[in-house]
Structure formats: structure tokens, C-alpha cells
């Protein structure tokens, strides 16, 4: 017979970690079989001793270790996780550890950003001849985890939310300017359909709310008159592209500068074919929600990228020059980074706790194109479908990690989220990590390989023991 579940401890009674007397930390070590596992064997053959807290899991290669396994280990109650493999150049599979180095560098940044105590997650290179190093690493890791105390269930606290975005000096483009662009856009779209260059045009049409355009699918030249262009054209229409078939003609889409970046991502990942696509780039002075300029627009000049087949832009001098301002998301990230890991964890748990798992973030994301999502995979179950701290945290982490090096910051997810979770900050943080570490900015070059499919021999590894 099932016993009733014990009360879930809350943040207050879990309190600062107060280990029970005799408490032993539980450290899971995921190691590769060729180097670290053999190094740990050598420590044994050499009769060295180290803390018994560590339990080894043997993998063929660090390249096999999905960062989500770490999330899983924490879910299952590990107090600390160690990932260890071969030194660069020693990999039995030549480069598995170099791929792992990039993945885990990115993943570690994510974990730290959501407030996982850095003392709980460690990485090392230990070769088959480094029995003594293995002992040193285990001692160091166990001591750090012991200091961090028993892992406790996450609990939310709303107090550390980032401050509101700074005021913008920019003003919406004038109605005349927008009107002129809209007319030009209608003409271009009409001609494309008339000449049968395109058989469908994805654009914006008038919706029921005054400041919000809705997506429109135009297939006849006369319908082109329904197209609108104003500062309410929020949607990233590229989300529809992979599943829109043009038949005989191409699929044309109205794209802003930010949308083009996701189209580039889709081209890179072979979800679109350039020759089946006709991009109508429209000059954009930013999209507004009431009197608030969208965060992603602040640092964007809105010009039409060269990738577009046709540019719809203002002729002659423009009434207002677009002033590029600092991205307010960066200020919010900077704020969160000033907090202690615990406070950051509480903030993010507070965010994740509101998640209702509606997956709207996934539905609107152009790069979440998988037909079936890992979140729906069972046997084995990667992510608990339960709407609780465990399931919500796992979902939000996997979503963010899957977009690392790919997300172009269109913020469609954050806009769609009914719980107003700051998904944009998670995405933006990882984009900056990828840019800083791998010198890669997503959505710029369709011929470029995604950063997590590549590596450089000299990728930074300051986080690896």
C-alpha cells in the first residue's frame, strides 16, 4: 500500500544547508572508460585512498555524456557531479572530449546562471596514468560538495527580480513612413504572386487588437492589399517557413532584421532550402508594445540584411535616425549575476515554478522544429511531465540548452509565455557565453557550422581541473 507522500519542504524550512550528523555527500562521477576510469583503477592498484562518497558511471567517451545526464543526476538526489575524461589529444575517439569541452563549458555557464552552486559541478581531465590526480580531484570535489552541504529541493523567491528596463529615447516611426513602407510591401508582394515567382506570401495582416498584427498567408495577388506594416508586427514569421510548401512557386516571407537571423539558422540546419525561399526584408524601426520598445529592438538598427531577395526600405532621408541603445536584457543579466548563487537559484525557481508546461515557448520558436520533442519522450523519460519543481526546471534547462549557439534572440518565447518567465534572459545569457567563448554569433552566415558541432584545439578550458 502506498504511504502518503511527505510534505514537500519549502524554502524556509529547508533553510541554509544544515547537514545531519554523519551526513555523507553523494557525488556522481561520469567518467570515460579509456582515461579516467583507467586512472581510477590505477589509484586502486596503487592502493591510494580517497573519500567513498564518489560513485563512478562508465561511459565510452565524454562525448557520449549528454549535459542533461547531469540534470538527471541532480534530480535523483546527487549532491555533486563530476565529469571527467581524457586530456585533449588523448581521446580514444580522437575528438570526443573536444566536443564535450564545448558542450560542458556552455552547460556549466547555464547551470551557474540558474544558481546551481558551482561547488556542486566539476570537470576534470584525468588520464589513465594519473591515479594520483584522480585522488586529488575526488578529494577536492568531495570537499567542495561537503562545504556546499546536502542538495535541497529548489524553492522560489521573487525578491531578486531584475529591475524594469531603462527608458528608451527612441520613438515609433511616423505613421506616414510606415504607411509608405506598407504600400511598397503590398506592391512587392502583389508582383511576386502575379509573376508567380512565389505562390504564397507570409506577412502581417490586421488582427482584432489595435496594436498587434497577426500572421497572414497570402496566395492571390489581390489579397496583397491586406498586408500591413506597423510597429505591432511582433511575430517572427520564420516559424511557419519549414512547414509551408510553395508547390510550384517559392515561399515568400516578410522578414525583419531579427527574423532573418532565424532564417539563417534554419538554413544552417537544413530545415529550409534557399532556392525555395524568397525573403522580403522590410526596414524596421522597432516593434512596440504600448509605449515600450521591445528589448531586442534597442540594439538593432533594423536595416535589411543582404541575404534578403528584395528590400523594402524608406526612400531618401528618414525622419528619424535609429539610435542604437544598450540591450536592456544585458542589464537584467548583469543584475542577476551580482546576486549570490542561492539568490539566483531562488529567483529562477520562482520563475520556473510559474511554468504551466503549455509549451507555447516551444511552439513559437522557429528553431524548435523537432516533430517530437525530448519533453514528450518516455522510455526513458528525459523530463518529468509533472508540473513541479523537478519537471519545470528540467524542461526550462533543456529548452535553453538546446538553443545555445542557435537562438538569435527574437524573444518570441518570452513574449508567448503566459507565465511571463524571463526565457529571453536565459537565451541571451547563453548567446553571450557562446559568443565570448567560441567567437560565434548565431544567424549571420548560412554556410557557417553551428558552434556546438565544432571545436578548436585551443578552446578555453579554465573550468576543467
Amino acid at each position: 500500500m502506498r504511504e502518503p507522500l511527505p510534505e514537500r519542504p519549502t524554502a524556509s524550512d529547508a533553510g541554509p544547508a544544515a547537514p545531519q550528523p554523519g551526513w555523507q555527500p553523494n557525488v556522481v562521477a561520469m567518467v570515460c572508460r579509456w582515461c579516467t576510469y583507467a586512472g581510477a583503477d590505477l589509484a586502486g592498484t596503487s592502493r591510494l585512498t580517497y573519500p567513498a562518497a564518489v560513485r563512478l558511471l562508465r561511459f565510452p567517451c565524454t562525448g557520449r555524456m549528454n549535459p542533461m545526464f547531469v540534470v538527471k543526476a541532480f534530480e535523483q538526489g546527487a549532491d555533486g557531479v563530476l565529469v571527467s575524461g581524457c586530456h585533449p589529444g588523448d581521446c580514444h575517439y580522437v575528438q570526443g572530449n573536444l566536443h564535450a569541452r564545448r558542450r560542458f563549458a556552455t552547460f556549466k555557464a547555464l547551470m551557474e546562471f540558474v544558481g546551481v552552486d558551482p561547488r556542486r559541478l566539476h570537470f576534470s581531465w584525468v588520464s589513465a596514468s594519473e591515479g594520483t590526480k584522480w585522488v586529488r580531484v575526488v578529494e577536492q570535489v568531495t570537499a567542495a560538495v561537503r562545504e556546499a552541504g546536502p542538495a535541497r529541493p529548489p524553492a522560489g523567491g521573487p525578491d531578486s527580480a531584475p529591475p524594469a528596463d531603462a527608458e528608451t529615447a527612441r520613438r515609433p516611426a511616423s505613421a506616414e513612413e510606415l504607411q509608405a513602407l506598407a504600400e511598397r510591401l503590398r506592391r512587392v508582394a502583389g508582383e511576386l504572386l502575379e509573376q508567380q515567382t512565389a505562390s504564397i506570401v507570409l506577412g502581417y495582416t490586421r488582427g482584432t487588437l489595435p496594436d498587434r498584427a497577426v500572421p497572414g498567408f497570402i496566395t492571390r495577388p489581390e489579397q496583397a492589399q491586406q498586408l500591413v506594416w506597423d510597429s505591432g508586427c511582433h511575430h517572427n514569421l520564420s516559424v511557419y517557413l519549414p512547414r509551408t510548401r510553395g508547390g510550384e512557386g517559392k515561399v515568400a516571407a516578410v522578414v525583419k532584421r531579427c527574423d532573418v537571423a532565424t532564417v539563417v539558422g534554419l538554413l544552417q540546419e537544413r530545415q529550409l532550402r534557399r532556392d525555395e525561399l524568397h525573403l522580403i526584408g522590410v526596414q524596421c524601426d522597432g516593434v512596440w508594445e504600448g509605449d515600450r520598445l521591445a528589448a531586442r529592438c534597442r540594439a538593432c538598427d533594423g536595416t535589411v540584411p543582404a541575404l534578403c531577395d528584395v528590400a523594402v526600405a524608406a526612400e531618401g532621408a528618414r525622419a528619424q535616425q535609429v539610435a542604437v541603445e544598450p540591450d536592456p536584457r544585458d542589464a537584467a543579466i548583469a543584475h542577476l549575476e551580482t546576486l549570490s548563487p542561492d539568490a539566483r537559484r531562488e529567483y529562477w525557481q520562482g520563475e520556473f515554478e510559474r511554468c504551466i508546461r503549455c509549451y507555447a515557448c516551444r511552439a513559437v520558436c522557429p528553431l524548435c522544429y523537432c516533430e517530437t520533442c525530448i519533453a514528450e519522450k518516455h522510455r526513458p523519460q528525459w523530463i518529468s511531465p509533472a508540473i513541479d519543481a523537478t519537471g519545470n526546471t528540467a524542461w526550462n534547462l533543456v529548452r535553453a540548452f538546446h538553443l545555445a549557439g542557435r537562438c538569435t534572440g527574437c524573444d518570441a518565447c518570452a513574449r508567448a509565455c503566459p507565465a511571463e518567465i524571463r526565457l529571453d534572459l536565459l537565451n541571451r545569457k547563453l548567446a553571450r557565453v557562446v559568443e565570448d567563448r567560441f567567437d560565434y554569433r548565431p544567424g549571420t552566415d548560412p554556410a557557417q557550422a553551428p558552434p556546438l558541432t565544432e571545436f578548436r584545439d585551443d578552446d578555453a578550458e579554465e573550468f576543467i581541473l
Binding site: 555523507q24 592498484t45 567513498a52 565510452p60 557520449r64 525530448i374
Partner: protein
């Protein structure tokens, strides 16, 4: 329903001293899914293995956990025993409670608790282990050798002598490579052609070797044991079967061009045989130098301005319409022996190489020394044919020079320079010879003795120093250098200067791309492991021989050639190749075709699979694993965002179950035991 047996070994005192094995066995009995457990002093002993086998039969076990030493030691033993008792070997796993438990944790309670936890996790792993059978790959019993130099020749002969057919592809009109150009070889000073040409003839007469000269590999498809290779046989415009090698055509040909075989120091005709002992011994019409215009590279000449060779050819062997031919061969193994060339860079120009005709490189000097060379073996300088009185040899002209040349040591120059000095002195007793060197590296059998003998007996000045430039003054070359031992500047007159240029790779991007094998920073082909797998490459079934991998002298090149041949034969001698079944597995039902898996695979094991509808139109392009090539690293599995790639033998289901078994029950989660295999056992709850 899983029926797992757990066998806890005491390993005498080794485990038993700190881990209470009987307690671990008792604990194991309570893990859901285990139906049998036992402890025993030595399970690896014959009686121990018998207990295991009997338990498998008697209790109809579906999985076995041997809690003992490291799997690196006895996994094959126990998997073998389990296999003999009728279990799939992959359903037997080891729990390492010796190296990673009893030997490293002195506290009995801690060690026993940890052993229980390791056993629990391993039981969960075995419960979910699939029965795997080795991947069987048919093998085409034929080898391809690319390059007909001494390494390629040796490899071809070694493979062919085991009875396997060999296709030997050579780019030039004749076999022989650089070795055929050499006058004598160090340290024995035996004639190079005298030892090489018998091998060339043996290759051409060997019933198992097909020699394709004037040919290049264009395309390599397939994988280990099953390569399909396209080879372009360039037109020689002379039908080999008709040519009698009489040489009448050469006399008739009006067009003279520098002879590559003599390093451009002599002339040949547009129709030619590279050297008298060439194999095959037929003439070749050099389409680029013949007076007849060639409009289309694949279908012979179009406009005939000169037919003199054809007119004098009695057997009518000349065919101006001969097209290139592309032949296809199926092979199981490939040996790459494309050799080396000398690299002339900035340091060479400073020494006057390429500027003054009397500054020659090592291979040019070989031809000047050779009895079959342009001077008939008399050493005369190229500019005016005068016999030199002062000869200066300069070592490391670009080698060991990371800034302006190559950082590595070219390995052969110290030895061939000593040989050059010896041969020069034998021919011209009174010549003054000076060698500028950095260090003399003579690490080979009989090498140091040879250098010492030359330096002592041949009255040569070995000067430790560097040369800054070679200039021409009053009709004579002047070598400006510095003696680095004394620090003094030196100026030496010279009639002939021999520079030791770096040995570099023959960069052939197309070949490298076709073979899918990487090159190192300098362009040499990369071996799989610098020490332990020096002839294998990243692509299974492709092996390296000779200077294509790194600078090598003849003995080392031949040695590696035989090693590559032996590796090839190892592969070709099996009718079916057995590969580990622990490979990536793709469920392509939900593959979205982003091909990030393909991008990260180092082995080219992932292919694009086009799924077509009934009318043959492509509906989807999805990823597919070729299990014959997959090495089972699992790097691809992590790229797949919706989890369609798993790794046999280390599945995600197994990993999650192990993680669950290792952790304590997190607070707030239920800790109810279920008796089916869905609920992982938690060690911490029970000990």
C-alpha cells in the same frame, strides 16, 4: 521479466578484507529483479566460472552482474563464461568493487555500502541490457595501394604474396618514385636502382598485382572492407601492348623538354620513357608538351600539327585519339603511400636556390652523382659543366625553422649529406668539401658510424654553423655564414652548393578529401595514434606507408609499408569482418534532418538517407548509421535534440536507471519499492 544473478567475488583478501562480500550478496538478493546471488573467493577461477555457468542455466538468468575487479581486466573472461552458458555476452556486466572500492576505501562500513550501491546500479544496467550480436561486414579481398615508390611497391608485394589481389596506382609513367632517382643509398653505399629495379620488375610480373601507371585515384566510396574506387588512367597515347620500346619515336620527336626524372638537369623529348629501367617499359606521349593541340582532356588530340612519331613507329603503337579511361575497382583495404617532395621556401632562396644554377638540392645532386644521370656519373656543375673544386653542403635549409620553413626535422638530410660527401670524394679526390650543419642526427643502425667515418676519412670540414646567404662574386659563388662554435663569420668560395631542403608532403587535397583522412598541421597524413596505431588512419581500412605520413628514410618507409600490408592482410584474410555491436542507433521516425550528428562524427559513419515515396520523390532526408564504420563513441547522440540517437550497450535508459540507483531518494519523492523492473533499487535505503 528480468532474472538477474549477482556474483560477488572476495578476490581472496583483496575485496574481502574491506568489503563484506556476503553482506553485498545478501543485499543483492533484495534488489527487484535479482533471483540469485552468491559470493565466492575467486569467481575468475575455473570452479568460480562453473558456479556462474550453472547458475545461469539453473535459474534461467537473463542477466549477470559479477561484482569483482575492474572490467578492463576480467570482462572478457566473464562474458566468455556467460556466453558459453547460453547468455548474450552483453548481458553480463562487471561491478568494479576492487580497484574502485575495496582497494581505495579502508573503512569496512563505507566500502561495503559503496559496493552495494555499485552492485545496485550495475543490476539496473544489466536489467536493461539488450542482447547484441557483432556486426558482420563482408570483405572484398583486394587491396589498393596508392603510390608506386618503394613504400608502395613493398606494401603491394607483401599483400600480393599472401594471395590477395592488389591494384597499384602510380601517378607517374613509371614505378620507382624518388628512390629510383637516388644514386646510392646510405649507410651501405649500394646502388639504389640495383636494389629497387628488381622489386619494380617483380611487381610488374606478379600475377596478383595490377599496375596502373599514369593514373590517379579520383573517388573513394564505401567503407572498410567495401571500398569502391574510381581511378583515372590518363591517356599515354601509346598502346602499351604494341609498343616494343625501340625508341625510334624519340629520335623523330622535334620537341625537347626538361626531364623531370633528372630534376630538370637534362632534356627529354615530348615522347619519352622516364629512365631506361622504367616499369612498365613503354613510351608515353606528354600531352602537355606535344606540338599537337589538345582541346579536350578526355578524348585525345584534335588538331595534328606533327605526326613524326607515328610515322616512324613500326608496330603502329601511337594512338592520338586515345582517351583517358576511368576504371572502377572494388577493394577491401587501401594503403596510402604517396611519398614526399622537397619544399623550397624563403631560406632556400637566401641560399641562392632557384637563382644560381649551381645551387642544387639533394635530389638534383643525386642525379649529378648517378651513373644514369645527365652527366653519366661525373660530378660537373650545371651552369657550365665544369668540374667543381669547392663544394659546400648546407643543412636544414628550411627544416627546424618554425618561422620561415617547417618546424620539424626532415630526418634524412644529415645522412644523405654524409653520403653525398663520401660519393663526391670517391669521384673527385681533391675536391674541398664543407658541410654547414646544426646538429648531426644519425639515429639509425650503422648511421652514426657512417657519419663518423665520412667526417674522419674523407677530409671534409664539418662546420657547425648557419648560412645567411649565397651570392655570386667574380663568376664564383660565395657562401656567407657563421661558425656558431667560435662565433666568427665565415666566407667560403664554392663552385657548387648543395642545399638540404625540407621533405614535405605531396599535398593532394582531392585525394585527402576522397579518402576522408585528415592531415596534420604540415600536410602529412595523420596516423590514428602516434605510438600505438602508427599505420592506421581515422578511416577504418585505410593505412599509411612511407613518407606520406612523415619524413622517413628507406628502411623506415619499407618497414611501415610492411606494417601497412600486414594490417591490410589482417583485414582481407577474414571472409566476414566482425565489428563491435556497440554502435550508435538512430530511430529515424522523428529525425528532422539537421545532420549535426553527421557534422560531429569523426569516422564518417553517419550517412544521409533519402526516404522516397511510391513515385520515387524524396519526402525526407534522414540520418543513418553505418554500423560497419561506427566506433561507438556516442558523440552523435548528444547532438540529437529530440533524443533519436542512442548508443547500443550504453543506452539512455540504462544511464538513467543507474543514476536513479546511485542517488538517495530525494526528499519529496516517494521511496516506495515496486517489484517490477521499472523501479530502480536504491542502495542507500537498504544499507
Amino acid at each position: 521479466m528480468a532474472r538477474i544473478g549477482v556474483f560477488v567475488c572476495h578476490c581472496g583478501e583483496n575485496i574481502g578484507r574491506t568489503v563484506r562480500a556476503d553482506e553485498v550478496a545478501e543485499f543483492a538478493k533484495r534488489i527487484p529483479g535479482t533471483v540469485y546471488s552468491a559470493d565466492y573467493p575467486y569467481f575468475c577461477s575455473a570452479p568460480g566460472q562453473k558456479i556462474l555457468a550453472e547458475a545461469i542455466r539453473e535459474h534461467e538468468l537473463t542477466g549477470v552482474v559479477v561484482a569483482a575487479c575492474s572490467p578492463q581486466l576480467h570482462e572478457p573472461t566473464f562474458r566468455g563464461a556467460a556466453c558459453q552458458a547460453g547468455l548474450n555476452p552483453f548481458q553480463c556486466e562487471m561491478a568494479n568493487i576492487r580497484e574502485q572500492c575495496s582497494w581505495v576505501h579502508p573503512d569496512r562500513d563505507e566500502a561495503t555500502a559503496k559496493a552495494c550501491s555499485i552492485v545496485a546500479a550495475t543490476v539496473e544496467r544489466v536489467k536493461r541490457a539488450q542482447a547484441l550480436t557483432p556486426v558482420q561486414v563482408p570483405v572484398t579481398r583486394r587491396a589498393l595501394v596508392i603510390g608506386g615508390g618503394v613504400a608502395g611497391i613493398r606494401a603491394a608485394l607483401d599483400v600480393a604474396n599472401t594471395g590477395s589481389p592488389v591494384v597499384l596506382v602510380e601517378r607517374e609513367p613509371s614505378l620507382g618514385g624518388n628512390m629510383a632517382r637516388l644514386s646510392e643509398t646510405f649507410p651501405t653505399l649500394d646502388c639504389s636502382q640495383c636494389i629497387l629495379t628488381p622489386l619494380m620488375v617483380e611487381v610488374s610480373r606478379h600475377p596478383q598485382i595490377e599496375v596502373l601507371t599514369l593514373s590517379e585515384v579520383e573517388e573513394v566510396k564505401g567503407f572498410v572492407g567495401n571500398f569502391k574506387v574510381k581511378i583515372r588512367k590518363k591517356a599515354s597515347f601509346v598502346r602499351a601492348e604494341d609498343c616494343t620500346a625501340c625508341g625510334d619515336c624519340v629520335a623523330a620527336c622535334p620537341e625537347a623538354v626538361p626531364n623531370e626524372f633528372d630534376m630538370g638537369l637534362a632534356w627529354r623529348k615530348a615522347i619519352y620513357i622516364p629512365f631506361p629501367q622504367a616499369v612498365p617499359s613503354t613510351y608515353t606521349l606528354d600531352a602537355d608538351r606535344c606540338l599537337n593541340a589538345r582541346l579536350d582532356s578526355e578524348t585525345g588530340f584534335r588538331l595534328l600539327a606533327c605526326v613524326r612519331c607515328s610515322e616512324v613507329c613500326k608496330p603502329r603503337a601511337i594512338d592520338y585519339d586515345m582517351p583517358d579511361e576511368v576504371v572502377e575497382r572494388e577493394v577491401g583495404a587501401i594503403v596510402v603511400a604517396t611519398g614526399y617532395k622537397l619544399l623550397a621556401g624563403e631560406p632556400a632562396a637566401e641560399c641562392g636556390y632557384g637563382i644560381h644554377p649551381d645551387v642544387v638540392d639533394g635530389l638534383e645532386f643525386e642525379r649529378l652523382l648517378s651513373a644514369s644521370g645527365p652527366t653519366g656519373g661525373e660530378v660537373r656543375r650545371p651552369s657550365d659543366g665544369k668540374t667543381p673544386e669547392d663544394v659546400v653542403f648546407i643543412q636544414c635549409v628550411g627544416s627546424r625553422d618554425p618561422k620561415r620553413g617547417v618546424p620539424y626535422c626532415s630526418r634524412i638530410c644529415c645522412m644523405y649529406t654524409a653520403k653525398h660527401v663520401a660519393l663526391l670524394k670517391h669521384k673527385l679526390h681533391d675536391v674541398r668539401a664543407t658541410v654547414f650543419f646544426m646538429d648531426v642526427r644519425a639515429g639509425g643502425k650503422g648511421y652514426e658510424e657512417f657519419v663518423q667515418r665520412v667526417a674522419k676519412e674523407e677530409r671534409v670540414l664539418y662546420l657547425r654553423g648557419q648560412v645567411s646567404q649565397v651570392v655570386k662574386r667574380n663568376g664564383k659563388l660565395v657562401v656567407h655564414g657563421v661558425d656558431t662554435l667560435s662565433g666568427q663569420a665565415v666566407e667560403l668560395p664554392a663552385d657548387l652548393v648543395v642545399v638540404a631542403l625540407p621533405t614535405g608532403p605531396i599535398r593532394n587535397e582531392r585525394l585527402s578529401a576522397a579518402l576522408r583522412i585528415p592531415t596534420d598541421a604540415h600536410g602529412f597524413f595523420q596516423e590514428l595514434h602516434p605510438k600505438l596505431r602508427p599505420v592506421e588512419t581515422l578511416t577504418a581500412g585505410i593505412y599509411l606507408a612511407g613518407a606520406a605520413q612523415a619524413p622517413k628514410d628507406i628502411p623506415d618507409a619499407v618497414c611501415q609499408a610492411s606494417a601497412a600490408a600486414s594490417k591490410s592482410v589482417e583485414l582481407l584474410s577474414q571472409p566476414m569482418l566482425q565489428r563491435e555491436p556497440t554502435t550508435a542507433v538512430i530511430d529515424d521516425t522523428h529525425c528532422s534532418g539537421c545532420f549535426e550528428c553527421l557534422a560531429v562524427c569523426a569516422y564518417g559513419a553517419i550517412e544521409r538517407n533519402e526516404i522516397r515515396d511510391r513515385r520515387g520523390a524524396i519526402t525526407r532526408v534522414v540520418a543513418r548509421v553505418n554500423p560497419a564504420v561506427c566506433e561507438g563513441c556516442g558523440v552523435c547522440s548528444v547532438t540529437c535534440r529530440n533524443g533519436n540517437i542512442d548508443l547500443a550497450g550504453c543506452t539512455e535508459e540504462q544511464i538513467f536507471a543507474q543514476l536513479a540507483a546511485l542517488g538517495p531518494a530525494p526528499p519529496g519523492r516517494d521511496t516506495i519499492e515496486e517489484t517490477d523492473e521499472g523501479a530502480p533499487a536504491r542502495a542507500a535505503d537498504r544499507v
